[in-house]
Symmetry: C2
Subunit: 385 residues, 2 copies
Amino acid sequence: MPGIIKERLFTPGPTPLLLEAQLRALTMTLHHRTDAFRALMRETLDHLRYYFNTKNDVIMFASSGTGAMEGAVSNLLSPGDRALIGTAGKFGERWVQLTKAYGIESVVVEAPYGHPVPIAEMKKHLESSGPFRAVFIQATESSTGVRNDVEALGRAVSALPDCCFVVDAITGLGTTDLQPDDWGIDILIGGSQKATMIPPGLAFASISDKAARAMEKSKLPRYYFDYLKERKSLAKGESSYTPATSLVVCLHDSLDYIKKLGRENLIANAALLAEATREAARALGLTNFAVSSPANAVTSINAPAGIESTKVVKEMRSRFGAILTDGQGSMKGQMFRIAHLGYYDFLDLLAILGALEISLQKVGHKCELGSGVRAAQNVYLRHSS
Amino acid sequence: MPGIIKERLFTPGPTPLLLEAQLRALTMTLHHRTDAFRALMRETLDHLRYYFNTKNDVIMFASSGTGAMEGAVSNLLSPGDRALIGTAGKFGERWVQLTKAYGIESVVVEAPYGHPVPIAEMKKHLESSGPFRAVFIQATESSTGVRNDVEALGRAVSALPDCCFVVDAITGLGTTDLQPDDWGIDILIGGSQKATMIPPGLAFASISDKAARAMEKSKLPRYYFDYLKERKSLAKGESSYTPATSLVVCLHDSLDYIKKLGRENLIANAALLAEATREAARALGLTNFAVSSPANAVTSINAPAGIESTKVVKEMRSRFGAILTDGQGSMKGQMFRIAHLGYYDFLDLLAILGALEISLQKVGHKCELGSGVRAAQNVYLRHSS
C-alpha cells in the first residue's frame, strides 16, 4: 500500500531542524567581516553561555564535535602528561583514541556497555594513580543511552589544582541538567546537530579559568583547534578562520527559541519523552539496554528475544519513514535507539511508538497494540496538570 | 509542564504544506510574462488535468474556491434559467446563496446534516420539475464529512442535452475517486489549500464541451471569473489577469509530487486515514456524525455525551498544538472534525489519535487509553502486507 510517507529522524544526531532558524539563514546578508555579523556572533556566544549554563566563555569551531574533543586534548596537555578517562561506550572510546593519537598515556576506567562509568573507581585512581593533568568523560554516552554522574566526578577533580575536568556533553547539553561552574567542569563540549535543532557543522567548548591557565602552559601541537586563539578572536566577534556563517545564523535563532522556551523546559521535555519511551518499551515486553542511569538524550532498547534489532530498524524505515539507529559496533543487531534530542514534542513520540508497535508485530514480536502508547500517555498524565 | 509543542493542522483546509514545493517558489524567477513562466503554467495545467482525472481543459483563478463556484453559476446560466441544487451542509448552502445572488430560481433538495443528498429525489426533480439548466452539488460536504453519490447523479444529468452538471470537489479532489468524463461532470471545481498541499489562493475548474457550449449562450454578467476568456488565455500559458505566481510554482511542484505518488495512492491514503479514524472513534466510545456515506476528506465525530465538542477542540489546541475544527454554524459544540486532505501520513494520524485520547479523558469522557490507536493500527494491518 504505497501512501504518503514523511521521513522523520529519531536519531541521536542529526536531529529534526527548527525550520524558522533555517529560514533566517536564507534572508540574512552573510559576510563574516561585517559589523552586523560580528554583533550576531557575539550575541550567539552569549546565547551559548546561557545554553551551557555557565559564566565561562564558550567558543565555537566550524567542525564536528570531535574537533572540539581533539582540541581539549591538544590544548590542555603536554608530552609526558597523563590522563584519566572514563568510558561507557563508543564515544568514551574516542577519548582513548584521541589521547593515544597525541602520545598521551592514560588510565582508562571502562564500564560494560549499558552501565555508567563507575565514579568511585575513577576517584580511587585520582587519589592513588596520579598525577593526572586531565580527566575525560561523557555527560551522556549516546551509543548506549547512559548518563554518567559528572557532578560527583567534577567535585573530586576540582579539588586537584593541576588537573582539568573535560566533559563531552555533545548529547548531554539540552537534555541533562548540567551545572558546569558549580561542578568544576573546565571544558564542556557541544555540537550543533543535537539539541540545538540545527544541522551538523559547529562544535562548541566552554573554557574555565583553570583550563585557560593549563592551556598557556601546554605544549602539544595545535593550530586550527587552538582554544585560546579562538577565544581571543571571538571576543571581537570574529573567528580565526572563515566561520560557517549560515550555521551561525541558524544557531543564533535556534538559541533564541531555546531561551524563550527555557533551558530547563528543553531538558524537562527530553526527560519526559525518555521516561515515556522507557515505560512504553516495558509495556511492549522489551527491556532497556541501559541497566541503570538511563540518559534523557536517547533511549536504547534491547532487541526483542530472538530477533535482530536491525530488522526492527529496517521495518520502521521502509514502512513508516521513521529513522531509528541500530546499535553501534558490537551492539549492532542487539539494540535500537530512539532519540529525544531537541526539537521533538509529545505527538512525535506518540507517532513513533504507534509505528513501533506495528513494526514489532511485523518482525514477529508479540505485543499488545496500543499498550506502549498507553504507557507513554500515562507518563504524560503523571507529569501534566 | 511547558515543553516543545509543534503546531499541526488537522483542518479541512488549510492543510499541511509540502515544504519542497514551497521552497521552489523561493528560487524561481517569477515574472509571469516570460517564456519560462508560460511553460510552467502550461505544464501545471496538464498536471491539473491528471489530478482532476479528466481530458477536459482545467482553468485556474487567483481566488478562493468560492470564486470558481460563483463562475460556474455566472458562466452557465441566463436570467430566467432554473437550477437544481443538492445540499447536505454549509457548502451546499453556498450554491443556494450563489444562485440567489444572481437571481436564479432554484429547486433545493436538502439532506439533514450528517446525511448525503438523496439522489433518487434529485432524479425525480430532474424528471418532473424541470427544465433545469444546471445541477449543483458537492462531491464531499466538508462541513458534515459526508460524500455524495455524484456518479449516479451525473449519469442522470448527462442524459439531458441542455443541462450541465457542476460538482464542487474542493475537498473531494485527491480524497475521492472521481471520473468526471465518464460520469458527465461538466464543471469540476477545486481549490489549492486542500489535497494539493499548498496554501490558499487558487481555484480550479474543468470545462466540458457541453459546458463550453452553454457558456457561449449564457447571459449572466461576469468579468473576472469568465471561464471561456480564461481558458483562451491559459491555452497560451497566460492568465487574463496577474496570476498568483508563487502559488502556481508551488502547485506545479506539489502536483509533480502527486504524479509520482499516483493520484490513486493519494486517494487511498486519505481513505485509509479516514477509515482508521472512524474505527478509532468507535473504539473510544464516540459516534461518527456522518450517518452514512462518510467522506475520506474529513471525519466528523459527535461530541462525547454531555460534553461540548468545543472543549475537546480547545484541549487539543492548548495542550498539543493540534488544530481540529469544531462544527460549523448550528453544529458548533455538537461535533468536531479531523481532516485527511493531502499531506498526512499514518504517523500523523497515530499522533493525533494518541493526543485525542488524552484530551477526551481531560474533558471528562471515559475511554481506554491506547484503544483508539489500536483500532487505527488494526485498520493499517488489514490494508497492508
